[in-house]
């Protein structure tokens, strides 16, 4: 198993070396072009910008998550499922399970929370202490009719109280769910 991990690291090093070479070539080309267009400009004057370009065009990551939620609607998706779909779509590889958790927490949840604050997405949670956070497309106003229907059903069927609605109330839910998904 360790030998397999080493082989995987070697593959990644090989890919990154090739990527580094092509990026270095493009940077040299830009410097040369800059010198041709205006020789007075110092190429290093622009300083180093560590721009985020893992997801292609600006807004592509949010757009992909929105499409996933829209396609799944009216069903909800949990955070781990959304993160896995994003990783598959954008070709992201994670060396460790922890890296995946960081991606899920830092990137995916940030977008989901922003969408929720913009009232474009609703969040709920599966029952239980380690229930996964669920995200469903549609704002609160759009879903008012569905809420009324659920309320009517709950009145007629059982008096059991509803579960929590905010994922922040259980910040470890996605971690536990992700760990279980990884163990599988």
């Amino acid at each position: 198993m360790l030998a397999g991990e080493l082989a995987r690291f070697d593959e990644r090093i090989e890919k990154l070396t090739a990527l580094r070479a092509s990026t270095s070539q493009r940077l040299a080309a830009l410097d040369q072009t800059l010198a041709r267009l205006d020789a007075r400009v110092e190429p290093a004057a622009g300083r180093v910008v560590r721009a985020q370009n893992r997801f292609g065009a600006r807004g592509a990551f949010t757009a992909f998550i929105v499409v996933q939620l829209q396609q799944a609607s009216p069903e909800a998706l949990d955070t781990v499922e959304i993160a896995q779909r994003c990783a598959a779509h954008f070709g992201l590889t994670f060396d460790t399970k922890r890296d995946f958790l960081v991606f899920q927490k830092r990137d995916v949840k940030l977008v989901l929370r922003t969408l929720r604050e913009a009232n474009r997405v609703q969040s709920t949670r599966q029952p239980g202490r380690y229930g996964a956070n669920l995200w469903r497309w549609g704002g609160r106003q759009a879903d008012l009719q569905a809420l009324l229907t659920v309320q009517q059903l709950s009145r007629t069927q059982s008096p059991e109280p509803a579960h929590g609605v905010d994922d922040d109330a259980n910040p470890h839910a996605d971690d536990a769910h992700a760990s279980r998904a990884g163990d599988r």
Partner: protein, 122 residues
């Protein structure tokens, strides 16, 4: 970068590419006309080829779908020296890259051979 600035940059890059294309065409024509000046022309040509490849890569950095090879030629670069006529500009350019002529007649003959190319508006 805003759309306006991107468009301005792309225009400048396309103009620079068109100028390199034109100068490459000129050096190619001169290489066959002036075999004695082959070293100077070959050196210039090598420099231009590197610049052309760099421009292609730069264009692709801004827009993946742009094919630099489809850009035509522009002779605006030849008039930058402040010369009054194309012939004078051509002479200044040749002096710049180190190509010399033993007689005025040989220069005139060369100029007549490339005049149509330099005056083209492709």
């Amino acid at each position: 970068m805003t759309r306006t600035r991107t468009q301005t940059t792309l225009t400048r890059l396309a103009q620079a590419t068109a100028e390199v294309h034109a100068e490459l065409a000129l050096t190619e024509a001169l290489t066959s006309l002036l075999p004695d000046s082959y070293p100077q022309l070959a050196a210039r040509r090598q420099h231009l080829l590197l610049e052309r490849d760099a421009l292609y890569l730069t264009l692709r950095q801004f827009d993946e779908e742009i094919d630099g090879q489809l850009i035509g030629q522009s002779w605006r670069w030849l008039r930058r020296g402040g010369c009054r006529t194309r012939r004078a500009c051509f002479a200044a350019y040749l002096a710049d890259i180190g190509v010399t002529f033993p007689t005025a007649v040989s220069f005139q003959r060369t100029w007549l051979s490339v005049r149509a190319l330099v005056s083209s508006r492709t």
